[in-house]
Amino acid sequence: MGPLQVTTLPESIGDLLGIGGPLGEFVAGIIAAAIVGTIMLGLVAVSGIWAKRKITAAFTDRIAVNRIGPFGLFVIVADAVRLLSKELIVPEGVDRPAWDLAPLVLAASALLGFAVIPMGSLFGLNFQLADPEIGLAFVFAVASIASLGLIMAGYASNNKYSFLGGLRAVAQNLAYEIPLVLTGVSVVLFAGTLQLSEIVAAQQETLLTIGGVAIPAWFAIVNPFAFVLFLAANLAEVGRNPFDIPEAPTEIVAGYQTEYSSVYFVLMYLGEFVHIFLGGAIVTTLFLGGPAGPVLPGLVWFIIKMWAIFFLTQWARSAVPRVRIDQLIEIGWKGLLVGAFANLFLTAAIVGVIA
């Protein structure tokens, strides 16, 4: 399979506006990034403020927001105004630059990951900002910057709960990022490339046909073991039940974000939700065939799949207990890591025999 020729979003925009050259590319890139960023932030606003409440309410026999606007959707506006107009409380003794930077780092690291995700096309535009050959490595790399933000927040807050939360977050991310990447590598072995668009393309073939229904060669179907491993590690990575230990409100109040209020809190919260969606985007790209799907345009399918992963995190949140920190570390190092290595060797063997 030769390298795929995809037109990225900045290129399309550049063509559309008729601007070229280094400056034109830069301007087109900014415009494209703004479009993708807006889509993602829009998703976060809908999910974090509205859908989260509705989903949890459905699990717990409640109705949730239904007063402002249709289905209570305008609560998004109300909440945004409320959150942004709150007083920004800066506690005494916080380590200033680090404390201020942490929310930015958190939100930015999650958003950066979307730079290379192929999100499918809509109206002939291919929603992918860039398609570097090391796409997958880039996604994992920028997503891990969040750990830095977490420890900055935890350490700079001058609060013992934040401190505990920050330490827990780092311990957890260390324990789960390795299995996450290793499982991702097994997909790379299958696809033979780190380039995300090609990983997606590799999943487009038909695996087998049952009763006229073509089952695509999604890696979730080809290698369900890796899929489950990746989902579990991803839950830990985004810090949701049963792995929401860094926040654990009933234990350490709110963990690393205890001292944040107003805009900073919004950034923290936003970073967390973008992270969930980034996790969903990675799972979709690596295991669920990316934007592939019948009838609907690619971008729509992509968003549906991301939401499915988001829905899963909310489901876990309503139904699964939080494990203890020592149990979490044990699951990570003794369970998932071993599983991830086993999966990697197995995949390598299969790929070596077949290909």
């Binding site: 049963p242 654990a248 409100p249 139904a319 207990p321």
Partner: protein, 560 residues
């Protein structure tokens, strides 16, 4: 009553051949320690010298089998201070004895009983705090409910309520200041968990020393919700003015259970009969309250383990809502019922009776199905088991020494339930079981609560059967009680009922007026909370939170 009463293998000293308590034999056992003998309504009291408390208590504990220090009541008389240790047996709670320790007014120092019964530690701190008796050899005698800087002892006779509490800033002890047993070490961290913390179920403040993620030392600091309930009760008349207060101790819908504690003590004190029909109504109402209280206990416990967004909590609230609807029909209130009266209840079941009974039956019949759901979500969940099995261990010996009762004790395998062992109401006529579990851990306590709800449902069903068939002419809801109740002067009583959290006891001393001279509440939460260090020290922070949740404390009852 289905479970047979446990008889001790070796008869303790002081137990006659027919199983009754022989106070003369106990007096003989105590020998020279006894300087006088008093008669309380519930038990005989032996008056002893203030420097021989420990010897007397340990003799009674080791040789006469009184292993449960139910309560410690202190009070001031015009001529003396007095501390009463109410002892009973876990195996046979009807065997009671009071140890009365008078101390002179000018030097109110009495030996501490904390060396014999761990539970006495907090009880004596409370007595010191509110009444002003000092206890020698007490491991940690300081105020417990009031701030450290409080001036005077509010329940002492010469306390001036109008005198403002003026505390200069420099003297004002910072409640957040650290005070724990663990010395400062570079690798431990002191954390204040509470008074405002999502997991403390109210305004509890736990001073915690952490060694990494592990708990090195915990010291519960209570009193944030102290509302002088004892004093308020002392200022109300027996007949009507006290009954509303018990609703506000354990305010988590355990109202009728609490009211019954007062009703039982006052009725026995003033020798008031309760018609049988009213007893059945009381029993039904009380068990409905127990279900409501346990549902909330299980729900909040799930909240502690699962996190803030768990569905189980809302399911518990949903089911509790049904109980509250029934209780509202019965009592007219949803939370602060004020349904019991001395000598009966306020009113009969609402008309049309059939509709009410149908509602109750519907609820009772749905109970097994509802509990199945909780078992699926909670006890059957492997992750949940991973979290709570073998954490927060409370060995039975420790539980007994700390005076733990209720589901906390029964979760440690202590077969102690006043409804069966010290029968009141209509319980001994009904068919139900006392639930115990040998697990001794957080899991066992949750299981006991879930199973107890099933037993409560059984009791309610039998009560409905009885009420439905009750002869219409014979539905007497209140006996004839004098408008002004003045029990005989100098009668004293300690009576307890099985509240939602355990043994809820009331000590009342009457002085011949229509108000109690001393009203002491033995709160089960207060005693159960004392066991937290046993459960939590050496465990992880989340286990401590789980242990706290499994204790099911209500701060309104802890602080009173």
């Amino acid at each position: 009553m289905s479970s047979e009463t446990v008889t001790p293998e070796v008869a303790d000293v002081g137990v006659a051949a027919n199983g009754d308590l022989d106070y003369d034999a106990i007096e003989e056992l105590l020998g020279g320690y006894v300087i006088d003998r008093e008669s309380h309504v519930n038990a005989e009291g032996f008056v002893i010298r203030p420097d021989e408390v420990e010897a007397v208590l340990s003799t009674l504990k080791d040789e006469a089998g009184f292993d449960h220090c139910a309560s410690v009541s202190a009070q001031e008389y015009p001529d003396r201070y007095e501390t009463i240790y109410h002892l009973r047996k876990f195996d046979e709670p009807t065997h009671e004895v009071s140890v009365v320790v008078p101390t002179p007014r000018d030097e109110p120092v009495s030996q501490s009983g904390a060396g014999v019964f761990d539970t006495a530690e907090w009880h004596e701190r409370e007595a010191y705090d509110l009444v002003g008796v000092e206890y020698e050899n007490h491991p940690d005698l300081r105020r417990i409910l009031l701030p450290e800087t409080w001036q005077g002892h509010p329940l002492s006779l010469d306390y001036d309520q109008d005198q403002p509490q003026i505390v200069p800033l420099r003297e004002h002890a910072n409640p957040m200041e650290k005070r724990t047993d663990v010395p400062d070490q570079p690798d431990t961290m002191f954390v204040n968990i509470g008074p405002h913390h999502p997991a403390t179920h109210g305004v509890l403040h736990v001073k915690t020393v952490l060694d990494g993620e592990q708990v090195a030392d915990v010291d519960p600091d209570i009193g944030y919700l102290h509302r002088c309930e004892e004093q308020m009760c002392q200022q109300g008349t027996y007949r009507h003015q006290i009954m509303p207060y018990p609703d506000r101790w354990d305010y988590i819908s355990a109202g009728i259970l609490n009211e019954w504690a007062y009703a039982r003590a006052a009725e026995d004190l003033a020798d008031i009969d309760v018609p049988e029909y009213a007893q059945v109504l009381r029993t039904m109402g009380a068990e409905l309250c127990r279900i409501a209280a346990h549902l909330l206990a299980v729900g909040t416990f799930a909240l502690d383990i699962y996190g803030d967004f768990t569905a189980i909590f809302m399911y518990a609230i949903r089911d509790r809502e049904d109980v509250q609807n029934i209780l509202e029909d019965l009592t007219g209130q949803r939370l602060m019922f004020n349904y019991l009266r001395l000598g009966g209840v306020a009113w009969d079941v609402p008309e049309p009776r059939e509709k009410f009974f149908r509602n109750v039956r519907e609820f009772v019949d749905s109970m097994p199905g509802r509990l199945e759901e909780y078992h699926n979500l909670l006890t059957g969940n492997e992750l949940f088991q991973m979290r709570v099995v073998d954490t927060g261990i409370l060995p039975p010996e420790e539980a007994k020494s700390y005076g733990a009762t209720g589901p906390v004790a029964r979760g440690s395998g202590i077969d102690y339930d006043l409804r069966r062992d010290d029968p009141y109401g209509y319980y001994d006529e009904l068919d139900w079981d006392v639930i115990t579990d040998e697990g001794e851990d957080n899991f066992a306590r949750a299981v006991v609560r879930l199973k107890e709800m099933e037993e409560s449902a059984k009791i309610i069903e039998q009560c409905v059967d009885l009420l439905e068939d009750w002869d219409e002419e014979d539905r007497e809801i209140q006996s004839n009680v004098p408008r002004t109740l003045k029990p005989d002067p100098d009668t004293e009583i300690y009576r307890a009922v099985e509240g939602a959290k355990g043994e809820l006891g009331i000590y009342i001393r009457s002085d011949g007026t229509d108000k109690p001279a001393r009203f002491k509440i033995r709160s089960p939460c207060f005693c159960n909370l004392q066991t937290l260090p046993v459960m939590a020290e050496g465990e992880y922070v989340p286990d401590m939170i789980a242990a706290l949740g499994s204790l099911d404390i209500v701060l309104g009852e802890v602080d009173r």
